[in-house]
Assembly symmetry: C2
Homo-oligomer: 309 residues x 2
Amino acid sequence: MDVEALRTFVTVAEVGQFQAAADELGVSQQAVSKRIAALERHIEVPLLVRTSRGSRLSLDGQVFLPHAKKVLAAVAQAEQAVRPGSRPLRVDVLNRRIAPAQAVYRFYRSHPEVGLDAVTLSTENAAQAAQAVLEGTVDASFRALPADQVPAGISGERLLDAPLELLVGPGHPLADAPWVRPADLAGHRIWIPGIQPGTEWAAFYRALSDAFGLSIDALGPNFGDEALMDALADSASLATLVGSGDRYLWTQTHDLRRIPLRDPTPVYPHVLLFRSGDQHPVLAALREHLRTTGPRAPHDVWAPSWVDR
Amino acid sequence: MDVEALRTFVTVAEVGQFQAAADELGVSQQAVSKRIAALERHIEVPLLVRTSRGSRLSLDGQVFLPHAKKVLAAVAQAEQAVRPGSRPLRVDVLNRRIAPAQAVYRFYRSHPEVGLDAVTLSTENAAQAAQAVLEGTVDASFRALPADQVPAGISGERLLDAPLELLVGPGHPLADAPWVRPADLAGHRIWIPGIQPGTEWAAFYRALSDAFGLSIDALGPNFGDEALMDALADSASLATLVGSGDRYLWTQTHDLRRIPLRDPTPVYPHVLLFRSGDQHPVLAALREHLRTTGPRAPHDVWAPSWVDR
DNA sequence: TACTTCCACAACCTTCCGTTGTGTCTGGTC
DNA sequence: GACCAGACACAACGGAAGGTTGTGGAAGTA
């Protein structure tokens, strides 16, 4: 049972003759003859009555026609169901740094008609996220993944740079600076708890430390954000780094200062991972949107050398 | 979009791995790979996630699976709809001689569970009836058609012989005979109105006339059965011929005699016409039923030489 | 009778499909 | 840590199926 044969049968039934159906289908009249003959041979019942002035449906053909149409409709519906864009785009927005979530939300606000689901994968590892994209769990994921580590079948585009800011308590020596250079942080203790080894976060802060001679304790024990904020507020030497777009609830409950970093501005580079060749129109629109309106730091920025640019 | 590819996809989705699906479908694992790959290429979306321990559905695959199943169900339903026996057998039973209608009715009484429609085609011509069978307007038709005139694609089986009886008024010389020979009718006027020239009826009565030297007025004007009955009842020389199974309403309202014909018994031979190779089980059952229980005259009968058998 | 229309048949060719053989990757095991 | 087994993909080959052109026959029409 060939779908094309069914389509041919329906066409012949509607136009009433083989030649016209052949023209409509873009094949030769003989091909139509063959398809109909094969279909009739398959179901062992004559469907069309051939006359000298065309063809019309036999009794069985009249019975069969609506069923054939139903099959074709089901086929079209199946194709429609997986057509790019008929399903909301599932984007993995990180929960740790919320810049991607904000950017995706802004995109959604400016294109409210598109289908878009923002989810958060439980994977902390960029490679696992890439795998999830490859497997179709999500359609795209924001990660900081070196371009050469992007697995086959996955494309990556660096679309979002999240500038880092210093977060210190009021007693910190840099608490009143309008901005600081990364190199100024040398000698200060920087604590960024909750980073798991083997993740791109760890690699990022290691690269940052190496680049500016900092002492960042990114792999230490995590006592929770509340404990970190308490420690910052009380300490004259402890600092942490947050994304400039991040909004932490405890910045309102603690007297902390957010100080921009410049010269250069360290940015956490988000690479949007997606399946190579994915035709989803929302994905294309999201990429275009981020390329033009994405909040990338305007002037000299620093990013790990292992991230594509 | 190939139906076999859909079937393969559904099988893989259900059993979870290519090899097992290949076994179930009776093809090689590589063929399954190709089919799935072709399907994914066609809809431009990955449906299955290949792992080292089998395959599972991707997000799009989960969306696609029910649609694929729906297509397969529609295909199965379409095939079922035209399967021989899923539709009642349409049999053309003649209205002029009701022996076929009686025989079909008896068959239906003994097989009440079968689907059977008895209709009466408006064609008076056997060739037209054969054409109607060929075109599927009906599945079978009782006609007296020479075997060599059966068109291509149509098979004929002589299954029903309707013996003729003489119908005369009480004043007819043969009115009190227990039976008569056809040759005895020579010299008597026999009127069989309503026969159209060019029909098998006309040919039958012409053959009957020639065989026994009768004078049958079969092509005369038709004033209606009532007029014929009146004429028979009043006439001392007029007769007509009826099928022995026929029940005419006016045999109860007129004092007429039905006299069997013997030595030999002229029979009107009904050939059941049907499409060659028709697999309809009711057709086969009807043929078998008529072969064994059909009311065929037991001993020497006469039929036109141009009819088979 | 000649002509047109419409479908079927035949021959040829291309394309696609299925098979066998082999490769690669992953996960478990000794 | 290297090996092995399972699972899917790739390559090459053979055959079948479907498409095309060319032709024929049947029925209606001028």
